[in-house]
Structures are given as C-alpha cells and as structure tokens.
C-alpha cells in the first residue's frame, strides 16, 4: 500500500461510542468502536459504570448479611446466585440440607432460568429489529414471576434460599401453578418456532455471524450457552453435579459451529430441558422439613473453599477464604458474562456494525453482573 493510500485510509477512520446508554448493550456498557465506514476495526468494551464492589461488601459483613447482595449481581437470573452462595457456605461449614429443600431449590432455579432465557429471547429479537417476540416472551415470563413471587415474596431480586434450606415451604398452589406453566410453555414452542426460528430475516442476521471456535472459547474461559453453542457439552449441572441434579434425566443441548444462531438454538432447547427437570422434581418431591437447624452465628473455619453452579449465563464460581470468624476473609465471585464478553475485541474485529449488535445480543449479557 502506498503511503498516500494509507493516509487516505487513516482519514476514513473514526471512533464511535456505542453506549453507555445504547439499547442493544442491555445495560450501562460502553463499547468504543474504531470504525472504517460500516466496518468495525477494534471494539473495546469499557466496564465499571455500575461497579459496586460486591466482593468488598462480602468481606466486611457476616456471611448471612451478604445474601441479598447475591441477587443483585445478575438480577435476571438471581436464584442460581443464591444457590451458589448458600451451597458455598454449606460446604464450608458442613451444613446438611434436607432433601425437600434441595428439590425446591432446583425447581425454583430452573423456573428462574427459563424466565431469564425468555427475557433474553425477547430482548435479542428486539436488538435485531423484531418487536413482537418480546411481548410473547414477557407474557410467558410474567407467569413465572407470579409463581416465584408467591413463595419468595419478590419478583426479581430474590433472597429465598437460606443456609441449610429455603425460607418457606412450597404449597399446593405453587405446585399447581408450576404444572400449569409447564403445560402452557410446551404449547408456546410452536408459536416461537413460527415467529422466530424459521423467520428468514432472523436467520440471515444470525447464521454464520460471530463464530466462536472451541479453541477461542477455551482461551477466553467462556461458559454457559455461549460455549455450548460451539459444540462443547460443558454444563456445571452435569460436569460438577451439585444439589440433586444427578437424580434428574436431562440433556445438554449443543450447537455445531458456534454462530449466533447456534447460541439461540441452545437456549431455546434448554428451556425444554429445564421444563423436564421441573416436571421430574415435582413428581418426586419428597416430604420432610425444608430447613435444617443452623447456628445463628456460622463460623467459617480457616482455609479456602470453592463452589461452582450453572447460572443462566454460564459457570458461576464463588471462592471464599475463611479465618475462623463469621465474616469471610476473602470472597471472590467469578461471573460468567465477564469471561464471555472478554472475547469481543477478538470476535468483533473486521465485522459489520449490525453484526456486532447481533453478536452482543447473542451473548446474553447482564451488565451489573459483569461490573459487580
């Protein structure tokens, strides 16, 4: 390339701020794009707009008092965050959990996972310019929020699990409503399939866009549906079974080539698997107490401890170091979206700007979780 040509190219380059209030960043995320015409040369995410230092809060209060914080990282799918934290403290302090409580945890966590996937579905299609699916998604999600509200008391930032069990037992009304939801949701697939999955515009916007290779996923530590879209069947629920997940029969849907369409398909098929888990759990729900006796002041013995669960976006890992008091000496929260988003500078190099929107949406980002 001649020097003059190079200079001309340089002149055509400009910087574009996508966010922090852009609708398709799904939160307060800024991406500084170096552009040449319609093409993105270098997308650099800028984080920390809603950084609240949850880890410091975890280290400066007794472990029980951190429970509400766990629901405020990923507010779309808060129950698995509850689950990871209570399980971590239970592992550390050697607390037994009644079987019925574990079943209730699984049922509510899976309901929350479906709600998260439905919200993602609507929001993603909105990113791509389709307005109707979010109305369908919200309709279905509303049923789940009503069900969860009836036992947890809140609609979004749940604080329902307790060390050694759950806050209160589920009632017949809950079981009935959940069964009705499972039945209803199965009927809705046909609608989603007709509306979205077979929509030619949707396929054109997602097929062969943003391909994540298995090696790339490994280098960035990607997890969750974003990883499974690339064909790696890694799910903490199967790979590192916790709670009562080993007792249920469910599959891990995987994609083939790791493009946006595969990530979409994985989430859609995961909804069905979550429904299967809920059904089995309701059928086999054991009788008994839902909370074991736990000392008021839980002492965390010296030493470190790790606990991983599968949140809606991937592997959530809590790492705790105790020092003999009830306040953790160190609490690290490994959130899935953080690692998932970190591949964007590599993935978004040299693509069209509308494709970047498609990729960002397909990652299912929740920004408060990334910023913590």
């Amino acid at each position: 390339m001649l020097e003059s040509e190079y200079q001309e190219h340089q002149q055509n380059r400009f910087f574009l701020n996508m966010g922090p209030q852009h609708p398709s960043t799904h939160g307060v995320l800024l991406i500084v794009l170096e552009m040449e015409g319609e093409y993105v040369l270098d997308p650099q995410p800028v984080l920390g707009f809603i950084h609240r230092m949850h880890e410091k809060m975890g280290e400066s209060r007794p472990c029980q008092a951190f429970m509400p914080n766990t629901a405020r990282m990923d507010y779309v799918c808060a129950l698995p965050y509850n689950h990871g934290y209570v399980s971590l403290i239970e592992r550390k302090a050697g607390i037994e959990v009644p079987k019925r409580a574990e079943y209730i945890r699984v049922i509510t966590s899976e309901l929350n996972r479906i709600a998260s996937h439905l919200l993602w579905l609507g929001a993603y299609l909105l990113d791509l310019g389709a307005f109707t699916p979010i109305l369908y998604g919200f309709d279905d999600r509303e049923h789940i929020l009503d069900i969860l509200e009836s036992i947890t008391g809140s609609r979004l930032t749940y604080c329902y699990y307790r060390f050694g069990g759950v806050y209160q037992d589920i009632d017949d009304k809950f079981i009935e409503a959940t069964r009705a939801f499972v039945k209803r949701m199965r009927k809705r697939y046909a609608i989603y399939e007709k509306l979205v999955t077979k929509n030619i515009i949707f396929i054109k916007r997602t097929e062969n866009i943003g391909i994540v290779s298995p090696d790339m996923a490994l280098r960035y530590g990607m997890t969750g549906p974003n990883l499974r879209g690339s064909g790696i069947a890694y799910d903490v629920r199967k790979n590192e079974p916790y709670s009562v997940y080993p007792e249920f029969d469910f599959e891990i849907p995987v994609g083939e080539q790791g493009d946006c369409l595969d990530r979409y398909m994985v989430r859609i098929r995961e909804i069905e698997q979550s429904l299967r888990i809920i059904e089995q759990a309701l059928d086999r729900l054991p009788e008994g107490p839902v909370r074991s006796k736990v000392p008021k002041n839980i002492k965390l013995t010296p030493g470190d401890c790790n606990f991983a669960v599968e949140a809606a976006r991937g592997e959530l890992s809590y790492y705790l170091v105790g020092d003999g008091t009830s306040t953790p000496y160190r609490l690290k929260v490994r959130v899935p979206s953080y690692s998932n988003l970190s591949c964007l500078p590599e993935l978004g190099r040299g693509i069209l700007l509308p494709d970047l929107v498609s990729i960002l949406g397909s990652f299912d980002l929740v920004i408060p979780e990334i910023d913590r």
């Binding site: 984080l47 280098r219 960035y220 530590g221 030493g303 470190d304 401890c305 991983a308 490994r334 913590r372």
Partner: protein
C-alpha cells in the same frame, strides 16, 4: 454420566511444579499448586496444552512474613483452572514479590487480560508484559486506589487463613498454652 477421569497431578509434578492433592469435598478443587513467580508462565502454558480453561485470576492479601522469606509483599495472586471435559479444578497461587510484579499470562490465555486488569485495580499487582494494564472496573483517575487491600488491623497471617494441617511451631505452642489455662 460416567466420564473418563484422569488425574493431572503427575503431569504437573513432572514439569517441576509443587502440586498437592486437596480434599475436593471440603475445598471444591482437586489440586493446589504453589508457584514461584518465574514459573507462572510455564504453568499457564502447561495448563493450556493439557486443555484447561481459565476460571479466574484474583488477588489475596495477608500479613507479610517477617524475618525469613524476604521480598514478600503479603500479596498473592490466585488462579483457578478447570476442564470442559471432566471434573477437575486446580488452584494455583503465587506469592507476589516486593516489586509487585508478576508475569502476565494474557498472551497464553487471552481471557486473563481482563482478570489481570481487575486484579491490578483491586490489589495493585503489576502484571509484567500485559499489553494494556489500565483500570478496568475502577475509574481511570483511581489508578492508585486499591479497595481490596486490607488495613493493617484486619490483616491475618497466611497460616491463620489456610487449611494447613501443621501450624508453625510458635503458634502451636501458644495454642497449647491457651488450651491449658
């Protein structure tokens, strides 16, 4: 689901790393590796070649040892690795020297880029060789503010916060004296 499980302890021992098996039920990982600061890159390379993915990188602040073991800043960098194909978690930790410099692994695991920037934000560890060590979660003007460093009064020694089966002798003596009273 019965998956083939392999123990990777030998692979790491063979490469000269100080690896010890840990009780998974208690601690949530299978192998603990204590690294020397100049082993970090070799370890990351070995883990990458064996097919591990990086779970996180973070810091840890304890009271610096006095007397022996000079050049110890009291900071530690903790890495966690795991596998996609089987259940195997590794915790690797490296003691940060007084210069606060630890080699960066962000060219081996590109995902470490952000984790290292976050650790620099929160603890002030400088990752040598990192291409872009700017504040990530904190504001750019907070370049010298490290919120997770503990105050002197809250610091504990490493042996007070580890599983260690045999505490240092001086402490053991004290503990016995206390229990005798």
């Amino acid at each position: 689901m019965a998956k083939e499980t392999k123990d990777y302890k030998k692979d790491f021992l063979h490469q000269g790393f100080d690896a010890t098996e840990t009780a998974y039920d208690q601690r949530g990982f299978h192998l603990e590796v204590v690294l020397d600061v100049n082993q970090v890159r070799k370890f990351a390379q070995t883990a990458y070649e064996l097919g591990f993915y990086l779970v996180f990188v973070t810091g840890f602040h304890v009271r610096p040892d006095e007397g022996h073991d000079k050049g110890n800043s009291g900071l530690e960098v903790v890495y966690q690795f795991a596998r996609y194909d089987q259940l195997y978690r590794i915790k690797a930790c490296v003691s940060v020297p007084n210069s606060l410099e630890v080699p960066s692994i962000s060219d081996i695991y590109q995902g470490a880029d952000w984790h290292e920037r976050e650790t620099r934000d929160l603890y002030g560890v400088v990752f040598d060789g990192h291409p872009n060590l700017k504040p990530l979660l904190l504001a750019e003007e907070d370049v010298d503010f490290h919120p997770l460093l503990k105050e002197e009064a809250n610091l504990k020694s490493l042996h007070e916060v580890s599983w260690s089966s045999e505490p240092p002798k001086a402490v053991k003596g004290e503990a016995e004296a206390e229990s005798g009273q």
